[in-house]
Subunit: 346 residues, 2 copies
Amino acid sequence: MIQLKDVAELAGVSTGSVSKVLNGYAVSPRMKKSVELAIAELNYKPNMVARSLRTKTSNSIGVMVPYTNDPYFMEFFRGVSIGLSEKGKVPFLFSTEPHDEFSAQKMQQIFMRGVDGLIVSTYGWKDSVLEELYLIAEKIPVVSYKRSFPGTAIHSVGVDDCSGMFKAVEHLTSIGHRRIGYIASGLNLDTGQQRLKGYQQALEQAGIAYEDNLVVESAAFQIEDGYNAVQQLLKRFPLPSAIVGANNSVAIGALKFLESRNVKIPEDIAVMGYDDEPLSTLVTPKLSSVSVPVYEMTAKAVQIIEDAILGVHKETINILFPTTLKIRNSTDFSATAAFEFERFSR
Amino acid sequence: MIQLKDVAELAGVSTGSVSKVLNGYAVSPRMKKSVELAIAELNYKPNMVARSLRTKTSNSIGVMVPYTNDPYFMEFFRGVSIGLSEKGKVPFLFSTEPHDEFSAQKMQQIFMRGVDGLIVSTYGWKDSVLEELYLIAEKIPVVSYKRSFPGTAIHSVGVDDCSGMFKAVEHLTSIGHRRIGYIASGLNLDTGQQRLKGYQQALEQAGIAYEDNLVVESAAFQIEDGYNAVQQLLKRFPLPSAIVGANNSVAIGALKFLESRNVKIPEDIAVMGYDDEPLSTLVTPKLSSVSVPVYEMTAKAVQIIEDAILGVHKETINILFPTTLKIRNSTDFSATAAFEFERFSR
């Protein structure tokens, strides 16, 4: 059986150097090449499971998302994957759906597969699962995406959702809208509450009275939830002249329902999303939204994990990123019609 | 340290039964509940890595996709995830991008993390990586999605792409189109060649001469590739009255370019996709396409893996599934405008 030392001998380097290459640590390109050639020539197959027991590190990071059929979470995973690959680490993706069956025990199983850290999006998780996450965060680094857990060891990267939604609604009031419907999603979460607060503050700043019956709650965060929720807003009198979705998918659902009823967007009703993703530019008209810097946030999450594994952080890190208003045709008829590829092309 | 036998004692069952529960095997709901309660009460944390060394099974299946930002591959992963979860197995997702850097060595690393099987979509893989896959398939079950590897141990689930594309083009000729442009993608792959063959055979059946200059090759499979490729077809004279994409994303790219040039779809040019996915019903007009039974195929892939792990299969399994024509507004103005949720809602 070929062993690590045989590879080292053929490559003319130390066993420590071979180990570094196998674990993805930075070495000179020349050393990397010699080791890889030696591995290939000897057909050496290190046993990663045995090594992970010995070294106590697996060089892999678990990534958990609530859905795998939502482009929003796939962009997040893609960002994390790119960041981890650049560090020579392997991402493992897990989906926590169906949420109502996802258990603390399953969470433990994933943890015990020996990942060095977790990057998680916890939407829909039950308290019992979150409590397990708090315990895991005492043992390995955990970074939460978009949601912070004060008082626990969980790090987080997020955005200021109140100011982000404020920008969205301020854009609408600045172009003359006074009657603005709001599709609220995730009101049980801090992010959902902050977005509603941003909506209310922007109305207040424009001197518009808040009306309870212009706010409808969607069942969840997906396209069909927005498609269903918007129908309640269309029963209001007078009709709202603009509708904002608390996330991009519910706004797209609203837009699709309005299209099916031949409502002209933005002439009859303007539609605004939040938390921009590639779908925004594929629907007609293109959806105005508020963009969150997914790739900067995921790169930071990866950096926090890496530093934490190396023991750099002595305290819990919580970072908020800024948002950017993206004005497109669903609120502004004259907005540029250029097709945007950048978020697909990465 | 709490051990398996302590859990068994508290639960009043054998250690074998605890092991079954931990490994996700079918046991009575009552036994499952007692074991879970005992695990929770004792805060027992089995070491999965150590167990995987001992039992030689990890109860996890690796899933490899070429992209994570393409809804097509995410539907595939979602199907596999649902299927594996139902069997109590854990899916690990890996992305093989960037393809030009993805190496046989990385493939080995993934294999050596101790998965019991692999379900793979190999688009873009280099020969050196494929050769590594052939070797891995001698050791653990491997099922390929959409591509077969005759003469190797790799199982496959696929569709008859020639007859699928034949249906798409036959639909267009049946409603009067005689000049049909074709955006070819993946001509270096068997699937791409079969689709082109289907296009040619449908023309022949309708008595339409094949013209080389109505076929353009896209750089790759994504939306922007179709957006770019269709521009060549618009330089032909006379213009084609219909355009077919060899996959759904290139067709959506074509549709988006035509929209940006104010071409009326389907009145001026009809657009047809292939390999339907949820985006089809989000673009305007909704895209006609040929649907592949993703969930049936992924369920079958999971079943093949499970049977192969149990040693059921003595030979390589290759299964072809039938396709279904989906007629929507991009080829037929009068097609139903009802919004389709079923593929989002699963």
